[in-house]
Every structure is written in C-alpha cells, then in structure tokens.
Symmetry: C2
Subunit: 474 residues, 2 copies
C-alpha cells in the first residue's frame, strides 16, 4: 500500500462500515455544507453551492426550452391561503414556520413562511388568466422554502432548502397531463441522466405517497449506494382542485366560463445529496464531468512549475474545459491531491519539474486513479476532452449497472420487505395494494412508484398489471 | 397626431404630471411586478424577473472575477446573534420579522428572518478561519432578505427583496479597504455604468447615513428622472467590529492571534426600480441593449409573414442577438407594438407583406421611434448589432447629461435644500456638517455622499475640502 492510500483510509469512514457516517464525512471533508444554527437549517459552502449552481444552470436551460418563464412570488403567505385547499393544508400544517411579529408589532393575521407556493401563485394566476388565450400559463421560480424537519440530514432533509418550483395552468386535463410529462422527461430526466449521470426510475406515486392536494404525482427515483431510494424530483397534476380553491377560471373559445387545470413540479438541493450518495466512493465525491464545476484541476507540483501549470490551464480553458489551476506550491502536494480527490474532480493534471523538462504533463482520472499517464503537451486538450466524455458515459453505466443489480423481482409483500433491507424490490402492484403498503410501512419500506409492464408511467393506479417498486428511502 | 400616439397618451400618466403615478403605471402596464398579499411584499412577474436575471448574470460574472465565491447561509438567524453587535441590532430591530412557532410548537428562542447576514456569516467565518493562510475569505450569496417596510414601493422598498450580499474577511485594514473599493468599482460601477447605462456618483456616507455597525459605507447614487437620488449599491467596511463580536481571529505569519477585518456589500432588486426611473419615458420603459433580456423583437405583421419573421429571428439569434419573435398575428399589430414599446425593447423589426415582397424588413428603435427605416434582409444582423451598440452609448450619454444638468453648486444649507426640491445640490461638506444634516432632514433632504474635490472617495469624513452631494431620495 502506498503512503497516500494509507493516508486516505483515515479520511473517510468506509461506505461498507457505516454509510450514513461516510455521507457526513464526505460533506464535511469536501467542504460541501454544515449544519446551520437553527435546527435543521444548512450552510452551503462554496464547493457545495457550485454543484448546485451547475444543476440550476442545466435545469434552467431546459425549463426555458420547455416554455416556462421564471418569476418570483413572496416568501410570506397569509395563513388563510393555505386553508383554502383542505388536503394541502392538512399535508403541510405540521411543517410550517409561522411569523407572528414583524416591524415591532404582533401581526393581525399570522404569516406562513412558504413550504411551497401553490396557494400564493394560484391567487395570482386567477388574476392573470381571463380567457383561453392566456393559457397555458407556464411559470417557474427558484426560491428557498421552509418545512420544519424533525430528522434533518444535510441536503436530503433540511428545514430550509433551495429549489425550483414550476406552476402551470392549462385549458384541458390532457394539456396539463402532457405538460407535466414533458417536464418529467425533458427537464428532470434529461438533467438527471444526461448531466448528473444518475439513472432514475420514473413512475406514478400511490395515493398514500402523493403530494397533498394532487390527483397524480409522478416521481423520479434514484438508488443510493446503500440500496435505498431517493426521490430526485416530482411533477404533480392537481386536476381542478386548486383552480376551484383559487377561482382560476377562463372564458373558453366557445364563450363558456371554465375552470383551469393546474400542475406543479419541483426539484431541490436534495439532488446534491443524491449526487453524493449515488456516485461517491471511499475516496470521496465523484462528480460527473458534464456537471462538474471543476472538470480538470492543474496542479503545480513545485513553485518552479507554477507558470507552466497556468499555461496548461489557459489552454484547457480555451478548449472549453472548466479548469482550476492549483498553484499553492507551498501546500504539500499529497494534501492537495487528496483534497481534489475528495471533491471528485474528474481529471487531475500534475505539472512537475520532470514533466516540464520532458514537455509533458501527468494525467490522472478520478474514475481510474491507479493509472496515471504521461501526456504530451500538444495533446493535453484533446486527451482531457476525450477523458471527460468517456468518464461521463462510464459513470452513468456504473450507476445503471449498480441499480439494476440491486432490484430484485419478488412475488409477495414479505419478500419485498426482505429484499428492501439491501436493495429495491419489484412486484405486481395487485399483490401489494393499500393494505400491503400499510404492512410495508411497519418496516419503514414504501412503494416508491408504479410503472406499467413496459416501463411507462400509468395514468391511473387501477390500471391492470402495474408493477410496484418498493424500497427504504431517504 | 397619429392614432397610435393618441392611444399612447392614455396608457401612462405622463412623468411631468405625476412621476410616482407614472412609475406605478409602467410597472403595471409593462407587467413587471405587483403587490403581494402580505404588506410590502412583491410579486415579480416574468418580464420584471428577466430584467433581474440579466442584472444578476452580469453582476455574478464580475463578482466571480473579483475572486469571491458564492455560498448560501440560512434564512433563519437566532435572535441572540443579532444582539452581539450593538449598533447592528439597534439599526435592524424595528424592521425584523420574527418566527415564534414552527413545526406546530412555540420555539424556545425566537428566530429572526434575515434582514442581512453579517451575523450568521460572521459565526461561520470564525469557524473557518484559523490562520493567515485562510485569508482573505471572499464570500457572496444571492438571497432574499426581509426588512419590514411601512412605506413600501415596488422594487425600491419592499418588505422582502432579492439581492446579493458579499461578506469578506481580511488580514489587514488596508486589504479590507482595497477589496471593498474593488467591489465598488469593478463590480458595482462596472455593471451599473457599462450594462445598465446608469451613471453613478460614488462617495462616502456620512456617519448619520452609514450602515448599522460599519466604520465606512461607500454608496453608488444615481439620479432619477424626477431629480431625486437612488442608492443603487453600497460597500461597507466594518473594521474589527464584527470580528470582535463573532471572534473572527487568525494566527498571523508572525504567530500572533489577530482579529480579522471584515466588509460587506450589497445590491438588490431595487436596481430594477432604478432602471425604470432613470431611463423610462412617457411611452414606457427603455432598456439599455447590454442589459435587455430581449434586445430585438421581430413582429410578424400578418399571418402570411410569420415564417419570414422566424427566419429573421433565427438569423439574429445566430448573430448573438437576444431576440424574440412575436408571431401572434391574430393580435392587432398596434397593440403588440405598444406592448413592446412599453417593455422598452431596444429594436423592433416589422415583417409585413410588402417587406417580404421587397426582401426587406422595417426597423424601428426605442430611442428614436419616429424614424422607422427599411433594411435589406442581407443587412439585418449588421444593422441591428450596430444599432444596439449605438443606443447603449446614447442611453448612458443621455442619462449622464440629464444628471449633470440637474446638479447645482450651492454655498449654503438653505440653498441646498431649495435646489434639492428639483435636483441635487453640491456644496462644501464643511458648510453642512452634522448640524446641517439635521436641518436638511427637516425638508426630507439628506447628504447622499461625500467626495474629494477630484471626485474620488475619501477615506475619512474629516478630510479637508470634501464636497457633499445633497438630495431627496427614494
């Protein structure tokens, strides 16, 4: 064992030993986040925030391409708004933070800190929508929301989190359903699979697991390295529930007053948690190249190679690579190498005195860190670009293989509960049913989603021959 | 008078008649924002938010170029944190919103919704900074903050607003001062002048106007079209006040434990209000091309020209122009033209049947909307690009001329108060002093900032021969 490998072992708790501990360790050592002073809140440190910014940028492009426009609605919602949709308030009441004093006075009506914005956005949709010409109305916002958490876990469950929430209104049921499906596939699946390299199982939530007030929730579920499920994003159809509660109606082309059909869809900083739990290994984070805020780090090994390192950095930058030059030649090389490995930077380029003398650099990859290779200076940009593309594909393949290998087809609820101790189970929804869901819940196992036999998302949960994915979850 | 000109007159209250009313009208008619349901809060509609997103993007680039990294700190701050810096809590206490209940229970310690984040960030800086090697620590966050407003005005003063707040810690007074100055010039002035085409007067705040807890506040002040001042951004030096309150200390290279020197700097959605009040005219908003989310709109005049309009749009897009094709051929042309004029889009390209027949388009510019001109199809991209560059320059020149023309040099406090009824006054700070500030305050007039005779920013307010800029303000 090399000294560096020995050194590594002391940095993180191995995944196999204690996965939740490993997760906490990575977050601390890679400087991603810390607990905030108020229960369940989170401080997102620069590297953690850079991951989120990259997710945002990729998601935002696709949201705009899907025709939705960004807007911003207030953080504060009158308490009375939430009460207009009965299921909605029932779902969120236990998690609310309430402002009772402001500007030095007690408020006449308490104010709720938004847990989600269906109600306040519904109120404005009702004002803005007059005729069928105003539909569809496609809005999105990037915002913070607050849901009081009793068992917080950084990124995955925090009392405040950052997210995007889309809210749309449509003239017909079909249009609302199709738009929610477009978001699920062209925005969420595309970002998660193509950028985060996270394979997702997409299906319909059971009634028990649906969003409060929705007639349908479609979820994108990913498998963490300890075999649990993590919900990476959801799209909801509300039918006319919110339109009724908030008077979102319109004059149809036929001159009739009609209720609109609304949807909402959200994805959050929890995706950063997913990224860690799906790709990370005992050496730290592994960030897929398409997402990485730093795709390649150039390490000046010695003070006399700082200039050469910057030249390599400039060249990679010109080739469109997101590059960082680490010129802290006064910090021991080994410590810096471990830092970048912990942070999961895909490509590491070392520029040492011998490299400079021989007109080359030494290239290491996070995915295959045994095999460092010398690369001629003239070939650096092409080699790095090719490595980034290959490693992006490899990471998706590895995660997909790992997921497939841990999904067990079973025949009974008891077998499902057993399989869910180490992975996911897949079985006929008929066999489970609402009664089976109750039994699974006793072992903290849930139906993550329902699919048709061909893998598509069912439109109703009483369709024949549906398949249920069953797992423990974060 | 053409029918369209007559039509226009009815849309907005003229500026000369009632400027605040004009401001409200533009915000409503250009669909920028609306009042939220909770007192003083604001709903930012898609076009208003697109302006903010563009400001953010330009500012964020420059913040990163200045070496600061984005992070995110919690919305909720323990009440006790604010009390650690005496001036700070005194300044903010009347504006705080307080959460007393969460998760269905009364909280042991009330939580403050952040009015600004010096305290909570100070707490973490203290944890992260150990030695001089950790300095400077340069952080920024994009966030919402809450300051209860008794006299809210959309964008300018709202109970919740969006902003960026930078927070930095340095080893020396000089380094902190220089970094705050860098932000003022290379981030704020550069964005405001080069992108927003807003000339700013930069100077030091008097003690009375300083940020709560700061030893120095530098402000960038712009002049609105009604001759008032609008603070567009500020940078604060805290000396060691916050470092003392939050134990932000470090081990120096000489092995001594030293207190750090901190700064903060902020700019907010209020800049959107500034943009409106500085560039808008009786026909609506005028958005400088460098900022405009839509730099050119291509209007298909008739259904049969929709395809041709999209071809022009594609060409402009390929030339790097931010373009929108308005193909709503079923909406009357006049109404659409007025809409885009209200929204202040710099270049309007009309594609009518005759244009198509003659291989041309008709180009109008927001700055000179009398003079529409035919442009050959082959010259569209070059003509638009040139027009955008010219109009950006022109807008800055116009705003600078308007500002210069309304700054009156005076000799006494009484003359300053009088001049401030219609514009800004400029007079020796010696003549004003703290006693003069009190007298000016009686006419709701304030010293906006202090400059040296050569226009630079003084390092102390007792330097000789300082000049005071005096005005009413938003």
């Amino acid at each position: 064992m090399t000294p560096m490998a020995a050194n590594r072992r002391t940095v993180l708790t191995p995944q196999a030993e204690d996965f939740p501990r490993w997760y906490q360790d990575v977050i601390a050592k890679a400087e991603l986040a810390e607990n905030g002073p108020v229960r369940g809140t989170m401080v997102i440190r620069p590297y953690g925030y850079a991951l989120w910014e990259r997710i945002q940028a990729e998601m935002d492009l696709r949201i705009k391409a899907a025709g939705a426009e960004n807007a911003y609605f207030p953080l504060f919602i009158p308490e009375s708004y939430l009460q207009r949709e009965a299921e909605h308030v029932e779902g969120f009441a236990p998690e609310l933070a309430v402002v009772t004093h402001a500007g030095g006075k007690q408020l006449d009506e308490p104010i709720v800190v938004r847990p989600t914005s269906e109600t306040i956005i519904g109120e404005y949709m009702a004002k803005w929508i007059q005729s069928y010409r105003d539909l569809p109305l496609l809005l999105n916002q990037w915002a913070n929301v607050v849901r009081w958490e009793l068992r917080p876990r950084l990124f995955l469950r925090t009392s405040e989190f950052l997210w995007q929430e889309g809210h749309t209104a449509h003239a017909t049921y079909d249009d609302a359903r199709d738009y929610a499906a477009l978001i699920t596939l062209a925005v969420y699946r595309a970002t998660m699979v193509d950028v985060l390299a996270v394979p997702v199982v997409i299906g319909r939530k059971t009634k028990r697991e649906r969003f409060a007030g929705a007639i349908n929730t479609t979820a994108l579920e990913a498998m963490t390295r300890d075999g649990k499920a993590l919900q990476m994003g959801t799209s909801h159809e509300f039918g006319q529930n919110f339109a009724r509660a908030f008077d979102i109606d319109y004059l149809s082309a036929q001159g009739r007053q009609e209720l609109a059909w609304t949807t909402s869809w959200g994805s959050s900083t929890r995706m950063v948690g997913g990224l860690i739990m799906i790709h990370g290994d005992d050496q730290g984070l592994r960030v897929p190249p398409a997402l990485a805020p730093v795709q390649a780090v150039v390490l000046a090994v010695k003070p006399e190679t700082v200039e050469a390192a910057h030249r390599v950095g400039d060249e990679l930058c010109a080739a469109g690579v997101r590059v960082r030059v680490d010129d802290r030649a006064d910090v021991p090389f080994g410590r810096r190498a471990v830092d970048w490995e912990l942070k999961g930077v895909p490509v590491r380029i070392e520029v040492g005195p011998r490299d400079v003398a021989e007109n080359q650099v030494t290239l290491g990859r996070r995915l295959t860190d045994e095999a460092k290779q010398p690369v001629r200076l003239s070939a650096v940009a092409a080699t790095v670009t090719a490595a980034l593309q290959t490693d992006q594909r490899t990471m998706l393949e590895q995660a997909t293989d790992a997921q497939d290998a841990r999904i067990t087809e079973v025949a009974t609820v008891e077998e499902a509960a057993e399989a869910a101790a180490t992975g996911w189970a897949k079985l006929p929804w008929d066999v489970v049913g609402e009664e089976g869901e109750d039994r699974l819940a006793q072992s903290a196992v849930t139906v993550r989603c329902l699919q048709r036999a061909d893998g598509t998302v069912p439109e109703r949960d009483d369709e024949p021959e549906l398949v249920a994915f069953v797992a423990r979850s974060y």
